[in-house]
Every structure is written in structure tokens, then in C-alpha cells.
Symmetry: C2
């Protein structure tokens, strides 16, 4: 027997999964509320029982993705078997992997959130949490006194590298560099900078 609230929660979950799935397979254009509903086993109007509008649904998808990223980074940070340098490498890899494996979702995660205030707040909160986890990892590498400058620099830079790669502005055969190479160079530079002058 399923209670009413259980069924409702399951539908909500199915809607979010359907939206993310459609986004992955067909890009933003494929995400219509009708298609989302169909994929979740309900009809066009049903999503409005769970989200005030389409933007809020999408922003919630982004918020969940940011939260999962934050979880991953948190797990990396808390893993006692990893050295600070390894943690940094894995954390950054987690970010880039989202961009490569789920480019449309990645785009959504870093777009200015829209929709109702609750969804927007959730997205900002999740984004800040992910950022905070990264900050802590970077702090373990460069030392607290350098974190304020280098952590955001590293994050924004790696985001830029990922974003441009995802959007085809980093054609390897034209600029003769890979994203990995850029990140490696960047990390080495920051490391050196923080541990010398």
C-alpha cells in the first residue's frame, strides 16, 4: 500500500529524473513539461502539482546536481587515504567530469537560476556548499593564508576551462592543448606560488 504522500514524493522524484534524462539525451530543447510528464508516467498538468513552473523544475534539477557534486567533493575531502594534492586533483576532476559526461546539465548548473524563490535559494545554497567544499580542499594544499585568493581562482579557472571545452572553443587540433594540460599547469603554478614567495 502506498500512502498519498509517498506516491506524491515518488512522482516528484520521477519528474526530476525525467527532466534530467531528457536534458542529457536531447539538450534543453527536449525538455518540455509534456515530455517530462510522459516520461514520469503522468500527464502535462501534473508537474504543476510539484513545481510552480518550468523554470523552478529546471532550477531544482540544477540544485540537486550541485548538491551531488558537493557530496562528491565532500567525500573526497574527508577521505583520510588521500593526500592533499590527490584530493585537489580528484575534486577538480569531479567538476570536469560532470561537464564532459553531462554537458547540458553542466550548463544548467552554472546558469543564473530562475523560477520561484525557493528553487533559486536551493540552487544558490547547493552551489555555495560545493564551492565551500572545494575551498576546504584547496586550503589543505596552499595553506589558509592563501586560500581566499587561490581557491576561487582555481575554481573559476577550471570552470572556464571546462566550459570552453564543453562548448567547443578548445579544439585541441587548433590550440594544441588539452583541458588536462591546462589544469595541470594551473595547479602547478598555484602550488609553486603558494609555497615560495
Amino acid at each position: 500500500m502506498v500512502s498519498r504522500v509517498e506516491s506524491a514524493a515518488a512522482t516528484r522524484r520521477a519528474l526530476l529524473d525525467a527532466a534530467a534524462g531528457l536534458l542529457d539525451s536531447g539538450g534543453p530543447g527536449a525538455v518540455t513539461l509534456r515530455a517530462v510528464g510522459a516520461r514520469a508516467g503522468v500527464t502535462r498538468g501534473a508537474p504543476y502539482r510539484h513545481f510552480p513552473d518550468k523554470d523552478s523544475l529546471l532550477t531544482t534539477v540544477a540544485a540537486e546536481a550541485l548538491d551531488r557534486l558537493a557530496d562528491q567533493v565532500q567525500a573526497v575531502r574527508a577521505d583520510p587515504r588521500l593526500s592533499p594534492a590527490d584530493k585537489l586533483h580528484r575534486g577538480l576532476s569531479a567538476l570536469m567530469t560532470v561537464g564532459r559526461r553531462r554537458p547540458h546539465l553542466y550548463r544548467l548548473m552554472f546558469t543564473y537560476p530562475a523560477g520561484d524563490p525557493a528553487a533559486i535559494h536551493a540552487a544558490k545554497r547547493a552551489g555555495d556548499r560545493a564551492m565551500g567544499e572545494f575551498l576546504a580542499i584547496v586550503g589543505g594544499v596552499v595553506g589558509a593564508e592563501h586560500t581566499r585568493r587561490f581557491a576561487p581562482l582555481l575554481l573559476t579557472s577550471v570552470h572556464g576551462i571546462t566550459d570552453m571545452e564543453v562548448n567547443g572553443h578548445l579544439s585541441a587540433d587548433k590550440w594544441h592543448v588539452t583541458a588536462e594540460e591546462l589544469v595541470t599547469t594551473l595547479v602547478a603554478m598555484i602550488d609553486r606560488q603558494a609555497h615560495s614567495g
Copy 2:
């Protein structure tokens, strides 16, 4: 007396300007072909005489913006009164200024281009040209042997900084840094790296 081709060219121009204007003032959601047509003084169907579809129109807007950016950077690069370091600073400022003054256009410029092959090609071409101009400027600062690595790194990083700022992920009161500070740090680091080891 206006010839037919003059009138057609003027309409095409008006359509592109109208699209860019609507994008600036109301975001992507405000750019409808009907609104574009109205703002350009024609009706809904007229844009299809100049662009095969909406995506192609938008991609052309992006291509023109990238071309204008390339022009600016080229002008900076060719200015004999500027030192290499000044050129770099002004070039990067040009990029960030687009992001701040015209955030929606900035987003469009760095999104994977859609539409007909001609428009896509124009956008990629313009993007590559802008990238090439930046590359030349960076080469003047760090020396040819370091350009391949540092130029794309600098560009992607500054793009990432700008993108995250534009999308509200760099709230100064939370992370206690400004975009300027990040760029300054980055440039100083690259400069130092290229001129020492």
C-alpha cells in the same frame, strides 16, 4: 532612392540589431522572432527571408559580437603606444567588459552555436579570430615558447571568472574576492612563471 538590395541589407542589419537589443534588455526569453520583426519594422515572417531559423539568427548575433571583440583586441594589440603588459590588461578587460555590460550576449557568445552550417561556421571563425588575437598579445608578454600553454590557460580562466561573476557565483561578500583581484593574481602568476623557471 533605395535599391532592393540596399533595403534588404538594411533590414537584415535591423533584424540583428533588434535581436541584440532585445537580448540585452530582456534576456533570451524576450527574443522572439515576432518581437525582433516588430522592432526591426517588419512582420513575423520577414526574418525568414534573411535567416533560415531563429537559431541561425542568434548564432549570427553571437558571431558579430565575437568579431567585434576580436576587432577590439586586434586594435589593442596593434597599438604601438601600449606596453605588452598594458595590451594584456586591456585585452582581458575588453572580454570582461562584455560580460558585465551585456551578460546575455556574453552567454550567447560562449554557447555552443546552433542553426545552419553557415552561421555556425561564422561563429566559430569569429571565435577563433578573437582567440588568435589574444594569443598574439599573450605571446608578447610571456614569450613564444610559453604561449601555447599560457595563452589558452589565461583565456579560459578569465572566461571562467567572468562567467561565474555574471551568473552570480562569485558573490563578493561571501568569497571576499573580486574578479579583478583574481585576474591580477592570475596574470602575475603566469608572468612570474614564464620569466623564471
